[in-house]
């Protein structure tokens, strides 16, 4: 008994924009994971904890200064520094072992999340929206903060996309991902490429956490839901394919935004996960992926 309610044009635009802003957050998480997974082959389970740190960091700075933007910048920078330390001191040594990589990032993520739980308690926090007013978009009144999220996502997508395609750094990242020993022989400092990629990916997770803080409430394990979704997005999009994770994030955002009209949100999530399982089995390279992750 599927009952499709009639939706007005205004509602349609609102849902589409909701889907877009939601998709952008998923994209920020997924693109960071995808860079790390696609290049290093590391199942980075600490990614969700980095997202949580970004959100809580923003909250702390807002409590101290009252300024959301300052919080956003500070928490992203601090988490990036943490990512740098983590990569250089710990993860660098275990890139060759995927199982150990999963276990160690799982443990590190657990420690961060539990430290947050001990310090902040397990209750959820909210942050007031820094842009509380609404603006008129295509004839509907829409919160300007969500438009800002869409804008940030688009800028990040474009920026990283350009770096990957147009710059020397992008070339070196591609070379390292495809054939690390050959890239090394040809003079690419692959250790540096790994570090840059990991730090960039971690910073994107923190950015997603900070951006999502005014929209949804935060709790220490908030990252788990996001990274589960993000892992599946990058599989469907194609391992290591930046374009793939962007396109699939947008699609998933729209599916979630419109899906609840016909199904409860949990069923929508189940369907997305089930689709990802089918992809893992029959099309592990996804839509845009070129090579599989090496074992």
């Amino acid at each position: 008994m599927l009952e499709i309610p009639l939706i007005t044009t205004e509602n349609f635009i609102t849902y589409a924009l909701n889907g877009l802003s939601r998709g952008m957050i998923i994209f920020l998480v997924a693109s960071g994971l995808s860079l790390i997974f696609g290049l290093i082959g590391l199942i980075n389970f600490a990614h969700g904890a980095m997202l949580a740190l970004g959100g809580y960091g923003t909250y702390v700075v807002i409590q101290a200064t009252g300024n959301f933007w300052l919080g956003l910048v500070i928490s992203v920078v601090l988490v990036a520094v943490l990512g740098l330390a983590l990569e250089r001191k710990v993860l660098y040594w275990i890139y060759d072992e995927p199982l150990l990589g999963f276990l160690s990032t799982f443990g590190i993520g657990l420690v961060i999340e539990e430290a947050l739980a001990v310090y902040f308690g397990s209750r959820s926090y909210t942050v007031p929206s820094p842009l509380p007013e609404s603006v008129q978009v295509l004839g509907v009144s829409y919160p300007s903060y969500r438009l800002f999220v869409i804008l940030v996502g688009a800028v990040v997508a474009l920026g990283i996309g350009l770096i990957l395609v147009k710059t020397r750094l992008g070339l070196e990242i591609h070379a390292t991902a495809n054939m690390q020993p050959t890239a090394e022989i040809l003079g690419v400092d692959t250790a540096r490429i790994y570090t840059i990629t990991f730090v960039l990916g971690t910073a994107l997770a923190a950015l997603a956490g900070a951006l999502t803080a005014p929209i949804t409430s935060m709790y220490p394990t908030i990252g788990l839901d996001y990274i589960t979704m993000a892992f599946l997005v990058i599989i469907v999009g194609g391992m290591g394919s930046f374009k793939g994770s962007f396109v699939v994030s947008m699609i998933v955002g729209q599916i979630i935004a419109f899906g609840w009209l016909v199904l409860s949100p949990t069923y929508v999530r189940i369907l997305v996960f089930a689709a990802a399982m089918v992809f893992i089995l029959y099309k592990p390279r996804g839509f845009f992926g070129k090579a599989e992750v090496h074992e």
């Binding site: 160690s104 799982f106 788990l224 189940i270 089995l281 992750v293």
Partner: protein, 320 residues
């Protein structure tokens, strides 16, 4: 430090095995007399010990990391709870049914990924998705699972005049079942099949050259693990009296992975002991520092992953 360590190793290895085993068995038998107020906790610890063993078979012996063991554990719990609470059937009918359902589910979920040899990384993500689906499913199908309220409450029945609802009685019931199933798994691992699994993990290609169908061997390990996990879940629901979504949560999966790593992958006894030990440590710590337990658990886990990847058993067993 290492001198002390080798002293400890020498001490442990020098100890006569059989008397040590006897002491362990006596201790387990005497728990309800020595610590009457802790019977429930000891029951829980034993069940989680069995659960850890069942997952160790897949992770430690078959080398497959699954992120969905809690799905099978929860399936066992929900099967028993559903039969008793909603259909008014016998508690005991739930056990075989739980095992059969777990086998069917494991076959459906595991057949294609194992046959297509999707590789470790993909298997981890595949089971992550499966676990997330089962968790979501448990919340959303209120008509089947009771949603976030779960299915409860009920107690285990009377058998031969013994009321299993009592703490001590259920402890002994759990002890006997865990001992039987655990010993069965031990025999399985000590059998030729265990050697084949071990060899497959070391060098799968060579085993295939030797004519072994390694897919089939992995499949058997996966099915046995799922069945025993479900069985442990079924025993567990008799203890707590309610099947709730926390039994299929990722947190429980995380716990069981931690128990295995801390105890030592592929040792059976290590994960069993680590699960029991950590359940008691949790109880102790929760009185001292509410909420800090999981933080310490995480730190402990990271230390083991980096410093002692062979776990406690590896620490005690080998020089190198």
């Amino acid at each position: 430090m290492s001198d002390r360590l080798s002293d400890v190793r020498g001490f442990v290895r020098g100890l006569p095995r059989r008397p040590l085993l006897a002491v362990g068995v006596l201790l387990l038998l005497a728990v309800p007399f020595l610590f009457p107020s802790q019977s429930d906790l000891a029951t829980e610890a034993l069940i989680f010990g069995l659960f850890a063993i069942s997952v160790d078979i897949v992770l430690g012996y078959a080398g497959l990391l699954s992120l969905a063991p809690a799905a099978f554990f929860g399936l066992g719990s929900y099967t028993v709870a559903k039969l008793v609470v909603d259909y008014g059937q016998s508690f005991w009918l739930g056990f075989p049914l739980a095992i059969v359902l777990a086998l069917v589910l494991a076959l459906v979920v595991g057949y294609v990924p194992i046959k297509r040899r999707i590789g470790n990384v993909y298997f981890v993500l595949f089971t992550l998705a499966f676990g997330a689906i089962v968790h979501d499913f448990t919340f959303v199908t209120t008509w089947l699972t009771g949603g976030s309220d779960g299915l409860g409450f009920f107690g285990p029945p009377e058998v031969l005049g013994i009321d299993l609802g009592g703490n001590t009685e259920y402890y002994y019931f759990t002890l006997v079942t865990v001992a039987i199933v655990g010993y069965g798994l031990y025999l399985l691992i000590k059998s030729d099949y265990g050697d084949i699994l071990h060899a497959t993990r070391q060098n799968e290609l060579r085993m295939r050259y030797l004519g072994y169908d390694t897919n089939r061997e992995l499949m058997i390990a996966w099915l046995v693990s799922a069945a025993v996990s479900a069985f442990a879940g079924a025993v567990y629901v008799g203890l707590v009296g309610i099947a709730s979504p926390s039994l299929v949560s990722f947190a429980l999966t995380g716990d069981v992975i931690i128990w295995i790593i801390v105890g030592g992958t592929g040792t059976l006894l290590g994960p069993f002991g680590a699960a029991i030990g950590l359940v008691f440590v949790q109880e102790l710590l929760q009185n001292l520092w509410q909420g800090g337990y999981r933080l310490l658990l995480g730190i402990l886990f990271v230390v083991f992953v980096f410093v002692l990847p062979d776990g406690l058993m590896g620490l005690l067993r080998d020089e190198e």
